[in-house]
Symmetry: C2
Subunit: 323 residues, 2 copies
Amino acid sequence: MTPEDQLIGRITGALRSAASGAKLRPGIGDDAAVVPPSGKADWVLSSDASLEGVHFLADTHPADSVGYKALARATSDLAAMGATPRFFLLTLALPLSRTGAWLDRFLKGLRSAAQRFGMTLIGGDTTRSRRIFISITVVGRVAPGRAITRSGARPGDRIYVSGTLGAAQLGLWMIKRASGGRSRLTAHLYPRIRIELGAWLAREGVASAMIDISDGLSTDLGRLCRASGVGARIRADRIPCVQIPAGGRRPSALDPLKLALDGGEDYELLFTVPPRKEKRLRQAPGFRDLTQIGEIVRTKEVTLVDKTDKRLVPGGWDPFGSA
Amino acid sequence: MTPEDQLIGRITGALRSAASGAKLRPGIGDDAAVVPPSGKADWVLSSDASLEGVHFLADTHPADSVGYKALARATSDLAAMGATPRFFLLTLALPLSRTGAWLDRFLKGLRSAAQRFGMTLIGGDTTRSRRIFISITVVGRVAPGRAITRSGARPGDRIYVSGTLGAAQLGLWMIKRASGGRSRLTAHLYPRIRIELGAWLAREGVASAMIDISDGLSTDLGRLCRASGVGARIRADRIPCVQIPAGGRRPSALDPLKLALDGGEDYELLFTVPPRKEKRLRQAPGFRDLTQIGEIVRTKEVTLVDKTDKRLVPGGWDPFGSA
């Protein structure tokens, strides 16, 4: 057995799951995975990369969080389509120095995410590299024609977000300064993914458009509006901002509204609901966690309504941005 | 529009294909791609990474070859299952310095491969990195239960390979020394993928096991035998070795048999055929390109039959090997 085959064996062993089912033939140890037809359901596929120095810092972020989050980030894209996650493929490029204890902890976090999201590893690739590079492809399913895209928002639709925004970015700030307890860091290290909510919205046909907030509300709302050919007005005082812990230093970078607008990595869902369907939203899982922050308008501009009614400039995270 | 969104727009524009069909909803510009059910066919999925400095040298290999080969390598895994390629997702991490002319040429090569293999880009991810990193997930389909795995070889089955082995490695040797014309380098830069042959073998149920030769015959035959719980005897004089051009220096590294056994990157198919089905093989597309090199045996050892009958040690390419 070659060293590469041994490494693949370790990965497979750590992620072996009872959930794989009898009919599924994983591609690990074969050239490719074979997935039986899903009946009449549509398949939903997405890929997401996590790169050392860009998406995480190998000496700051615990390895199990890197594994958990790599799968969570990709899976959030399925949730944002209303799909139920099923499988994933893992491409892993590692320096030799990370193939020991670091890899074990990484796989532990990945396994914990896979179990929580109900997913089975069916294939992937491993190779050597100077820096850690992870690419994950996720596969989910959704009832035919029920997937929720970014492009269905219409003027008058109400804009909703789940959860609290800015918590992940606050966690990143705290972990870089080694301040704050572990419990405060959960949103940054082990983000919750809104699988149930997304699937409910698709099944019930309640949302007209949806996106997950991965790069920041200001950036992702802009994307949803552009895809739908509409604009939006959101109210600053409605945005569910993270609470900044009292005491200690609190530099201006820690403005709660700015964290919520531009923070990114919250993996909450941002979706639009036609007024006539708004009542049904009360049945949604986690309804009390939802906030209406504004509405879709005809003019193609995204406005933040506060004392000055200013145009909202995308200020979220961009790997190719100049920031 | 953010810089990342602009980059995604360029990638999508370069790879836009008429083949995408009306029902397919690509994930580019949305969170994920939606793929309608494939009737009763099984889906086949695989991921493959191409990393600067490991799989290619950015200043030696033409950018269009890097793009072509990244998709070819992944697609060869579908061919090795007997699947017909359909879709792919592209994860691309690039330094800013490669987002100009290099990216354009890379996309040109990728597009040429996608057209040749009949594939449509349906999603992916882009990010910034110090070195070029490409991860591609390919999706194909095969009639239910017809996929050919590595594990079905039985004692007495005949072992076949397609094409000529060692040509890609010879091409790599030549390109590193800037010797040899472009036509000689084709096997290394723009390898042919045996999609038709693989699909025929699956459809007709002729092969009992199959793998593509990506890391070298010695390594990949070992994998097929291990997965099948068998051994093999192959004859050195039967192996279709690349011809080394006459004249010039010809160091011992350029032993044709060694190139064929350990060279890798040939992307030819290695498969086993039960004796009773051997006659039907004559109908295979490109039958004249196939060579029987030995047979499967009960004892779990892979032997190279020559003057000394030595045990065949996996000598192919391994990113985690000590070589």
